[in-house]
Subunit: 224 residues, 2 copies
Amino acid sequence: MLVVEDEPAIRELIAVNLRHAGYAVACAHSAEEAETILNGALPDLVVLDWMLPGQAGDAFARKLRSQPRTRDLSIIFVTARVEERDKLVGLESGADDYLTKPFSPKELTARIKAVLRRRAPQLTDDVVRIGGLELNPATRRVTGDRKPLDLGPTEFRMLHFLMSHPERVYNRTQLLDEVWGDHVFLEERTVDVHIRRLRMALSATGHDELIETVRGTGYRFRRG
Amino acid sequence: MLVVEDEPAIRELIAVNLRHAGYAVACAHSAEEAETILNGALPDLVVLDWMLPGQAGDAFARKLRSQPRTRDLSIIFVTARVEERDKLVGLESGADDYLTKPFSPKELTARIKAVLRRRAPQLTDDVVRIGGLELNPATRRVTGDRKPLDLGPTEFRMLHFLMSHPERVYNRTQLLDEVWGDHVFLEERTVDVHIRRLRMALSATGHDELIETVRGTGYRFRRG
DNA sequence: GAGCCGTGTCACGGTCCTGTAACACTGGAC
DNA sequence: GTCCAGTGTTACAGGACCGTGACACGGCTC
């Protein structure tokens, strides 16, 4: 997650809230600094101020869209202008969404979730194979070393999600959002129990150690 | 791929990204120009702006659907309106999907891929043979181990569909769409009852266990 | 009209799943 | 070593989910 915003107060406000929501955040106060960062690692999403010193935000967005490496980045505009015209121009530069100041942290994270969900994390019907496990969403079958595994609906969804994002650590809130849906209202410890049930099922073929606990953070599905 | 959009900026944004995704793209700024192009070559898919000058986009879509030559084109609507009502009308005019501005290039290509992939193979008249069962669509006869089975119309269509996609799990909504037709308005539990009737009929030759219940998901036709 | 067949819906009961609380345990800070 | 937050484990009540039988309705034949 990259936040590009010249106003320090707003930049920190956004960053703090994103971190709290479980995202890794980098900040930049100008388009130039943002470019430097982007030359290193690519984020999943860019929160971009409409009004940037020197170079306007939408010009920067067009630039991102014009380069192959950054073409597919999700972009959310933050703007103080509410006029329709500005929104339209924002759309023309290929933003995924926009926020009008003032906005609440809740709205920010909600929109980010919406944008991210709209695009990537849609679990597909493709077969996932990792570490001796094979999960087939279309037939809803899971095999560990050719032996079939019996999973409940929730266990299956969780394993599907984890296997689709190996090595990556998810906290309990994120798992609730991804596996149960983000409108649910459940205890975080519920995740623990389902992790256990999933591990139990996987242990039938000796694959129970594929799900790793990251103390203080959450869980991770290991490669091999 | 044909892009029909009157706003030059958005049109180019879409076209550039589609070309980058590997599609051949033609552009039109109005419905009239689009018709001229369609008189020449037929694309696989049309990206159509909801608001077109002169003729509304959905009117154009209806026109496409009404002509045999363009009836089967996939259509994706692009609209700035987010209201549910508009979405509904968009789908009623036969759109395969719609995009709400703002959207990102990645989202656009993802949806296009989804629509193209969704064009599932229709049920053919070929004889289907699986697990001792033989279903002949042309004669509308089903035999289990050479013994004839007596099925009602709905049971037959459902068995035909399930046997044509063995191992794959379908939920009740999908089965309603595939067996009854896209836009029926029936209780999902109705599927259960017909599954039962089908199982009863199949049990006459001992093949009732071929239809498997996948709890929390739907039903599956087992191989062998 | 009566009778039959195919169909959609409902209600009941059993089974399995699931969320939660309570308790046991672990790892790390000090 | 002690202590504590964080996690593993277990048990259980409630509920979701599905199979099943019954019933009403419409179309059809006679």
